[in-house]
């Protein structure tokens, strides 16, 4: 249990370090994507750099989010059942959204 806490802490920092530059890139990108249609979005996303960074950003973001929300639940939700349910729900939502988003990115770029 204690070991788990330490690696949890580390992954939170690790994802934060990765997110710092990725977020700057993301902020810059959103300016270029204001009000695009799907064709424009596809064209932007098809650039190899944008494709790779988008995928990286989404995965790191959802991992960082999952860890962060779980720490908050552990701190504030003391009811044993609610605590477990919260952690499980956070896991499911993070994984499902991450997978759906990455799949969508590739559908947009490579789908017909």
């Amino acid at each position: 249990m204690a070991r788990e806490g330490v690696s949890h802490w580390w992954y939170q920092r690790l994802t934060a370090v990765a997110l710092a530059p990725l977020t700057l890139w993301f902020v810059w990108s959103t300016i270029q994507l204001m009000g695009v249609d799907l064709a424009g979005f596809r064209a932007w996303l098809s650039g190899p750099v944008n494709l790779v960074l988008s995928t990286l950003f989404v995965c790191t973001l959802f991992y960082h989010m999952k860890l962060g929300i779980q720490v908050i639940i552990e701190d504030y939700v003391h009811d044993h059942v609610l605590n477990s349910l919260g952690l499980i729900a956070t896991n499911i939502v993070s994984v499902v959204f991450c997978v759906l988003t990455v799949v969508s990115i590739f559908v947009i770029v490579f789908g017909s």
Binding site: R13, A16, I31, D37, L38, F62, T101, S104
Partner: protein
């Protein structure tokens, strides 16, 4: 649930029970404590917004029509207002996150440094957010 105590009356911590975070109410509000809880609150706001961001990308996978509905929803003024708040949270959390990372490296921990870096993070986040939205609305493009 009575607390177990030892012979001199100290509370014996059950090793299975994790220590709890200190209660927020017992502190007088200070830039340090307020910003600490703000990091947490922006983390939650960003999480909710990230699900929205993901939904926007997922909408793209469903084709032109669904994506244009998503774009329409984003263009409403209420959505723009929410996005404005969200990016403010993002800039704050980004800068304060970097501040956290410096602390983890053992830097900037003196109380005077903690205070000025706190104000620096808050003001920079506000300035960056305003610049971001001015660029987004083509304000600078109109100037040149």
């Amino acid at each position: 649930m009575g607390k177990k105590t030892n012979l001199v009356g100290e509370i014996i911590q059950d090793p299975k029970v994790k220590p709890l975070s200190p209660h927020l109410q017992v502190y007088r509000p200070q830039i340090t404590s307020v910003l600490s809880i703000t990091h947490r609150m922006t983390g939650v706001v960003l999480s909710v917004g990230s699900l929205g961001l993901a939904s926007w990308i997922i909408a793209g996978a469903f084709g032109e029509q669904v994506f244009s509905v998503a774009q329409l929803i984003i263009s409403y003024w209420i959505s723009q207002l929410l996005l404005f708040a969200w990016t403010l949270c993002l800039f704050y959390h980004l800068l304060n996150g970097i501040r956290h990372l410096f602390w983890d490296a053992g830097k900037g921990l003196e109380i005077s440094q903690v205070t000025w870096s706190g104000w620096f993070v808050v003001s920079s986040a506000c300035v960056l957010n305003i610049i971001f939205w001015l660029i987004a609305y083509g304000f600078f493009a109109k100037l040149v």
